[in-house]
Symmetry: C2
Subunit: 602 residues, 2 copies
């Protein structure tokens, strides 16, 4: 399963030693220039250099070490995929530093650390730089972060590197989006107007932010209907609005996208399209440009960038940055309008048809026909059933079709050429989802088509109890997913069980299957954004017995206002509407998993 | 119920205007010089200036305003106790700043803010100062915090101010403490030795830290068996230890305490006693003194102070402060040894006898004899029963004996001269506790001796369900009280109910009834210290219907290791042992409160 990385690492270290670079360590993050979680294969630098292709992780290569920092979801997968050159750093376990902490405290004094400035956020770059300073304030020999414009992995990854996709960008009709671009721009302007100082422009770098705002979709990244782009939104004063020459927004798209005939007429004259590569020059001139069209020549900072924007973007805008705040679009996008919510309901009904067809097909094959089916063949059949549904646009992520021990690899996906046969007498875990024009789905079901063991029954019951605790949750406005995460774990903890991933994540509307700002989880970041009515969140507790089996039960929930007998402090209370098609009632739900009577005394 | 504060405020404002002070605002915190929560009556400056005598709150007086910042526990009480001069700032409600935020953002530019440097922590002083700077980094006219050595309230509070207590300081036998002072000093030295740089001395300012470390108890503050003191602990190198002239610790006590004959012989020659007032000169010279007894004349910082130490202490130590960390004693003290734990069990058994006697006496008086009893008479009778018990040393806080609407005033205590008659047909809430030589108790029971309404039954059931959720909790090592706090609220939230206080606090061993560092609550501070085996924590969810009634159910729990069928990640799992005497089983427990059948379908 492993790729040999000796030659790649040797070449990289040679580049690191070159006088123009001269670095002792080189950081290879997972993200692309847009901070994307899922990335195009041309951007899979971290996977190429290390062999580990999970969605999260950061590589640090020094002259004598190659370290992979990843979290609990990927401990097993990373250790299986990486060769002997690599050391796995299990972030979250006691005594294991984060990659940021490692750079700050574990490297020798006066080490030079190279990084591609387009692949690290301004915030991380500054935090790392200032952490170093505060660590040893008096010392002159602290480590230095060195932005290296030419990505060193790109230099050695030449022959077999896939080209950058430049696929068509297409409008998403208002029938599905539920809101015009003009209305979104208006709401965005009003959302940022309370900022002090008031921004004159906002730089957008996250691909799903741009797709949402302009009601456009693409296919540059597998499973994510986004397209490579940057955008700058202008906030005009009322007099500037009268001048039709002032654009409302500039969208930076790759060439093929611009050539797409319909786009200009759909977006209208106030949204200018420019080539993708021109963003850097545009940002460098943005401050001057804003001052030239403004009535008063203000010396105030004018440009808002998001805290997910790269250090390179921040450098290009320069002195004119107000500050790096969470993108105001992230919150607007997370609260779905009624069209989007109805789309979620309808797309989940259709998705449920494919799932029911697949699981009944699979049961028949395994139990009645006694067929040998691989995990890959299962996933293919499920995709086939989904692809027959109206408004289907593709999968929302790699189908996790896993039998027995593979179910314990949390983000496993079967290799078509080399994967296991689905065993009737092992637990089968299937986590899958689709993109529909009217919504995105993400659902996990765990089955046993034979006779489960007592341990399997008990642990799966605990997972189900945690799932039900979230499904039936009621909580006051202002509550975060951090606060209710432990409800999903309470039943598991009772038996000394737990799981090393979050309980739930936001889901985009015909967009990325993982979407912020909220979530239900143990990371303190999920304590920053309260759950709000109209948001979508998954409910997916699990339990993983390494080398044996995995159990996960996942539905998609709409957060909604609920009626309660009292309304303490006039806060208003929230609960969930489950849109994934499922049997209600505890007994039925249990039967879905194991077809044996529930033990209610657990 | 209110005291007229017009004359006091006029005098204070006159002092604020004087050239030597010249401040636009003056801050009067609750705490004494030791950051105590409960304070001696001579230190009740905030209560005297405002009339509000709750345990938490901070007053800010400007030339035209008098503001009282307090939290949800005290909204009702503060608004009832304060006269028309005062404006109540309900901290925690949307849009209401904390007193710190108010000073930073709501005062006019270049305001001068006076504060007694012995009554604010170094951390708060610095945070306030730097918050101001970062708020308007370029402006020259930012507000200034002005330490005023002479407390301005003390100047005007002359004739009727009680004298400072100087009561006897007495040793707590090892039979009760379970550990010698020498052993505690040894463990303390080992706990701080991992600090970089390694401290040579630790300054102790919290009265319960000092009482615990030296196995001493006093009675300078009502309900808290502590005594006014400071202490400096020295950490010697092995060669210095041989020199018998080097003290292991210096204890600063008030005169009468020093005159106490036994104390010197109990503490031994290595613990030096000096007069309380000498701490300031001692701290100023501490760095030089440490360098003079040390073999090498190190220029490193040498002195550890706690983050609860006052700005005045930090100023006295000066450049030699390493940094202000949570007191290492707080964590040592929180984890009880087996003698202390057994003392908690035994003292709670005795305490339960007094409670059972009292509640049966009260029931008889109200239901059979039809007597008119005031809340105060009830509290007196409970104290009488407690005072008859072996090892009784006093109450651990003012008994909350409250009928009907008074139960909704969370920290109510009946005024002997003017309090309500306990009504048979209203809910009676009694929160009380005692100090015993072998432990401290804190228990709340809520009764109805007549026929409760449906609302009362339902809301009390929700409180009980929350109480049981905590009582039966199992969670992995590393879990904080912040994480499980929502378990106490889940049942209440289901009905749109909630309560505006924490779910539980640590309890001292024959020490303060509120003790850190851990707690179960919604404040982020309770996310900083994991719950650990051997700690004590209360379990006290409630519900308060303003103007009608209050419900609270409180037991004291020992945190202990528990056996679970699995042990995920080898973390080890924790649970609770309840030491408050109570009926186990849901039905019985319910009967205790309302003597009517539980409705199990809620």
């Amino acid at each position: 399963m492993t790729v040999s990385t000796s030659e790649r690492l040797a070449q990289l270290r040679e580049l690191m030693r070159k006088p123009e670079n001269n670095v002792d360590a080189y950081v290879v993050p997972s993200e692309d220039q847009h901070g994307s979680e899922y990335i195009a294969s041309c951007d899979e630098r971290r996977a190429w250099i290390s062999g580990f292709n999970g969605s999260a992780g950061c590589a640090i290569i020094t002259m004598d070490k190659a370290l992979m920092f990843t979290d609990g979801r990927y401990f097993l997968q990373a250790s299986e995929q990486m060769d002997q050159n690599w050391e796995l750093m299990k972030q979250g376990l006691p005594g294991i530093p984060t990659w940021q902490d490692y750079l700050t405290t574990n490297l020798p004094a006066s080490a030079r650390i190279g990084i591609d400035p387009t692949l690290i956020t301004e915030k991380d770059f500054k935090t790392l730089s200032s952490a170093k300073e505060s660590e040893k304030p008096e010392a002159q020999d602290t480590n230095t972060l060195v932005p290296i414009i030419t990505n060193l992995v790109d230099v050695i990854w030449a022959s077999d590197r896939p080209p950058r996709p430049k696929n068509a960008v297409v409008p998403l009709e208002e029938e599905y989006s539920g809101e015009s671009v003009a209305s979104k721009l208006h709401r965005l302007a009003s959302a940022v107007s309370s900022n002090t100082p008031k921004p004159r422009a906002l730089v957008l770098t996250a691909l799903d932010d741009i797709a949402w705002l302009f009601n456009l979709r693409g296919s540059d990244i597998a499973y994510n209907p986004v397209f490579f782009s940057y955008a700058v939104v202008h906030f005009h004063s009322s007099e500037e609005l009268d001048n039709s020459k002032n654009p409302h927004a500039v969208l930076f798209l790759q060439r093929n996208a611009i050539e797409h005939g319909d786009l200009k007429s759909v977006l209208g004259p106030q949204i200018e399209i420019r080539p993708y590569e021109d963003i850097w020059e545009y940002l460098k001139d943005l401050g001057n440009q804003l001052r030239s069209i403004s009535a008063e020549k203000s010396q105030e900072k004018l440009v808002l960038i998001s805290d997910k924007a790269s250090f390179a973007v921040a450098q290009a805008v320069g002195e004119d940055i107000i500050n790096a705040l969470p993108s105001p679009i992230t919150v607007l996008k997370a609260i779905k309008n009624s069209t989007e919510l109805e789309g979620f309901r309808q797309s989940h009904i259709r998705d449920g048809i494919a799932l029911a067809r697949y699981f009944s097909w699979l049961e028949e094959k395994l139990t009645e026909e006694g067929k040998k089916l691989t995990e890959w063949e299962g996933a293919e059949q499920l995709e086939k059933f989904r692809s027959e549904l109206p408004l289907f646009k593709g999968l929302s992520f790699d189908t996790i079709s896993s039998t027995g021990p593979n179910g314990a690899i949390i983000h496993y996906s079967p290799d078509p050429k080399d994967c296991a046969v689905i065993e009737r007498d092992q637990i089968y875990l299937c986590d899958s989802g689709a993109q529909f024009l009217d919504g995105t789905t993400d659902v996990t079901r765990t089955w046993h088509f034979g006779t489960p063991t007592d341990e399997e029954k008990r642990t799966a019951t605990r997972v189900l109890q945690g799932h039900i605790a979230i499904d039936s949750a009621i909580f006051p406005n202002g509550t975060t997913g951090y606060i209710i995460d432990s409800w999903a774990r309470k039943a598991l903890w009772k038996d000394g069980l737990d799981f090393r991933h979050g309980t739930g994540h936001g889901v985009g509307h015909y967009l990325n299957v993982h979407e912020g700002p909220h979530g239900i989880g143990t990371r303190i970041t999920s304590n920053a954004s309260p759950l709000k009515a109209g948001m979508i969140v998954t409910n997916e507790p699990g339990y993983y017995a390494d080398g044996k089996y995995g159990v996960r039960i996942e539905n998609v929930l709409i957060i909604k206002e609920v009626e309660t007998p009292w309304n303490f402090g006039d806060k208003g209370f929230l609960g969930f509407e489950c849109v994934t098609i499922h049997d209600r009632g505890v007994d039925d739900a249990y039967v879905v998993f194991f077809r044996c009577p529930i033990q209610t005394n657990w």
